[in-house]
Symmetry: C2
Subunit: 334 residues, 2 copies
């Protein structure tokens, strides 16, 4: 395999100096149109490929954004990643996505690798625990970083935080179920003692206390499989439940499947509300009520905040909470 052509080769072919080629590469207005055309032609002829490593060495303005997600198996996060990537692309920034899979060691490794490659900025949905080394590295490297959904580092001046107002929506969902006549209402799913679980559960707890109703939490992994298991427990015994507020839509869909399996259709006899607002809420049957988060808008706002920081030095507000809206569908109205 032959050596890749450099700007010197291009300069020679186009009969200009390499500075001029560099200027063309940066779309500088200083270069005459005819010259630019000649350089472009030479690049095409030679099959020139820009070497960003070399460029970064001189001016570390990479135009590269990192996106670290903790659960790529959840449609909520893939929707977030897709929308954010698109928003960055519109401003000429490339996005690299990595999945930590809730594993702090993987998270530390991918972030370290991203730092070495020289990121312009980073958006991270951190693992619930063990994120300290990752944020220490980010702090050392001075990479503008936004934390979303889970506040792993309390220093939101350095690492601005954005999430949804899950507390309010959880209370609203719970009151909705109570209004439908349910009294025995469980909170299902979410890993025990995880910050996001506590946050999403807090609204449920407040609403139940306000109504003088007993609370019960069934913590578990935030996926369908756990939801199915949980359904068995919800149906068990004499004190069978009438409704559930679920940690997320995946859990709710799993609970729904568990009930279906037992020949019971969620709706009038068992009412269910999820959280996130993934597409499958309305793609399944019965359709799932949910605490709907506009993830597309959230991703665009997050991207805009990071870009404003990078491009204009406008530091994002330390803490932002997007509104969540309750969408009541067949699963909670019978």
């Amino acid at each position: 395999m032959t050596r890749r052509p450099t700007i010197i080769d291009v300069a020679k072919a186009a009969g200009v100096s390499k500075s001029t080629v560099s200027l063309v590469l940066q779309a500088s207005p200083l270069v005459r149109a005819a010259t630019r055309e000649a350089v472009r032609q030479a690049m095409a002829d030679l099959g020139y490929v820009y070497n960003r490593s070399a460029a970064n060495l001189r001016s570390p303005n990479v135009g590269l954004i990192g996106l670290v997600i903790n659960d790529l198996g959840n449609p909520f996060f893939t929707d977030f990643a897709t929308a954010a990537q698109q928003a960055f692309a519109e401003q000429g920034f490339a996005t690299v996505i990595a999945n930590s899979d809730e594993n702090p060691a993987i998270q530390a490794r991918v972030v370290a690798s991203m730092i070495e490659h020289g990121l312009s900025g980073l958006v991270i949905a951190p693992t619930d625990s063990g994120a300290e080394p990752t944020f220490a590295a980010l702090r050392r490297a001075g990479i503008p970083t936004l934390q979303v959904l889970h506040k792993a580092d309390p220093d939101t001046e350095t690492f601005p935080f954005a999430s949804f107002d899950y507390a309010t929506s959880g209370a609203e969902a719970t009151r909705h179920l109570i209004a439908q006549g349910a009294h025995k209402i469980a909170f299902v799913g979410g890993l025990k003692d995880h910050a996001i679980t506590n946050e999403r559960m807090s609204g449920y707890a407040a609403a139940m206390i306000a109504a003088g109703l007993p609370r019960l939490a069934l913590p578990g992994r935030p996926n369908r499989a756990f939801g199915r298991e949980a359904a068995t427990m919800l149906m068990m015994g004499k004190r069978s439940f009438e409704a559930a507020v679920c940690f997320n839509d995946l859990v709710a869909l799993g609970v729904m499947a568990g009930y279906a399996r037992a020949g019971r259709k969620p709706g009038s006899e068992f009412r269910l509300v999820g959280c996130d607002g993934i597409a499958e809420c309305s793609d399944g049957w019965p359709q799932l009520s949910t605490q709907h988060c506009d993830v597309g808008q959230f991703a665009r706002d997050t991207a805009a905040a990071l870009l404003g920081w990078l491009q204009h030095g406008i530091r994002p507000v330390p803490e932002r909470r997007a509104a969540v809206s309750l969408i009541a569908r067949a699963s909670s109205r019978g």
Copy 2:
């Protein structure tokens, strides 16, 4: 923000030359243990961050793998990405993931960006059409690239191809439905004239012809929403269908939801087989029969093939087909 320390700073602090620091960075056995320790300590004290751009400039051995996926919304692809990333990480390679979302322009842009950053190798699940510029750029850059699932470039000597044997499994699924007594069997989902659609449909067609049964295809987007729509059509009219082979599991799950909505439970009266083998096949109810692809193993095999190429110069076989196994569950057995 102060200047990031370089190996020269580290060398000064540790009282050695910068060559020695470089050797330590590369874990070279040439450096005495005590010296290495001193250098490590100096790096920790200074908060040194390795600058990979500078390193790449001298030796373009980046240890970075690109992964370009055409539909991050499909669990099949997120499973693939997660498993591949893990396999690469075990060999010390970092993975960056990008989502082309079936958009050739986005695909070209993310691949161009990856090439500029200097990839060691690339795995791409190409868009169905418009991938020519992307492969032309890859060819020019000389990046070892594996195509998976869709053969966008016929030159498999340059771009080895790996996929599943969908033709065989489609025929098997169809014969299974016929054996259950179904005669009016449709093929549902998959974008019309797309290569993957034709491939997955070919087994269905062959089996139906062999059995002397009439064929009917209902092409459409490979997601749940289309499956739901399709269900309406399948139930319509007098010639209502008895079974369907679906393009993938998402479509099948959508069809299932569509039937459920009409108060009809798939199983004995309507039999359904999906394709891919995503987790939701067994997380829902009734459980979905599927043409199961071992995506984890496929991802590991693909990673191993690329790593063998990069590390030992062993060029992968031009074309590889992984076996697909039929898993018959409640959705097709009643």
